[in-house]
Symmetry: C2
Subunit: 162 residues, 2 copies
């Protein structure tokens, strides 16, 4: 997998058409399409999405968003972190290391990462070194966030009622 190239995806009609192949197609993609149609964003401007092309075909993608330190309720010390979502490899290309390559790309920023896997995939995330965040209702609201800690970073301790 040494020659896998992760590319930052451009917002254009071709990318948005390719996104329709992925299960987790939702408001975010529709909003990007509207912004493009109404010229609120320029064609070929940079998106929060990264992906892998196999020939001409987009076969994997994820979104990465850098969350500012003041919104960090997960890590100790508090710091900027990456929120990763919509990591998805098209069915025909799964189990070949593309998902792993995407996660390793995210880790290369050397920031803590939080993700909230929507599809049952805890085995994968565990292999990638992610762990469950301790559940805090006011923060997680029924979600099951997973976190990855680079060296020197700990999970923020939760104050439990005593």
């Amino acid at each position: 997998m040494n020659n896998v190239k992760i590319e930052r995806l451009l917002i254009n009609y071709k990318t948005l058409e390719a996104f329709k192949q992925f299960k987790e197609y939702g408001n975010q993609e529709l909003s990007m399409l509207e912004d493009l149609e109404s010229n609120m964003v320029e064609n070929n401007s940079e998106s929060p999405f990264y992906g892998i092309y196999y020939g001409d075909r987009l076969i994997a993608r994820m979104s990465l968003y850098r969350v500012g330190k003041k919104y960090d309720f997960y890590f100790d010390p508090p710091q900027d972190y990456l929120e990763l979502w919509k990591l998805e490899v098209l069915p025909d290309y799964q189990h070949r290391g593309y998902g792993k390559a995407m996660v390793e790309f995210a880790k290369s920023y050397e920031l803590p990462i939080k993700t909230n896997p929507r599809i049952k995939s805890h085995g994968f995330w565990e292999k990638m070194g992610f762990q469950k965040a301790h559940y805090e209702m006011e923060r997680d609201l029924g979600e099951n966030p997973l976190i990855w800690l680079p060296d020197g970073v700990k999970e923020k301790e939760i104050a439990h009622p005593s």
Copy 2:
């Protein structure tokens, strides 16, 4: 469906055992179990969960959490709202109005409601009068929130880059 009784569920081993029947069993439930085992919460204390019993069996549940006005990024004017999650009716009891009864119970608080349906169920939420929130990346991070607006409440306008 006039005689459906929505009950606030107590945190005890019986409730937590019943929760295992539901698909969306995750960190929240495990955390409640740990808190109970370590006496961090008392047996029979109130949970954020509401449910419907059919005889002795818990057949539907949801969690409702009141989010304070200062964390309201969805409604105009800003106000306390309800975050609804894990609404689920067991398969054998679906399509009998239990889900609707749960949502109507939530609406009876006369607060705006936000939910983030994890299972494909947009048809249901539309029938319940919910609408898609306009997507804002910094806030929604790849999620597809749906909102319900009581009389006199509007969706907060989003400032688009011009």
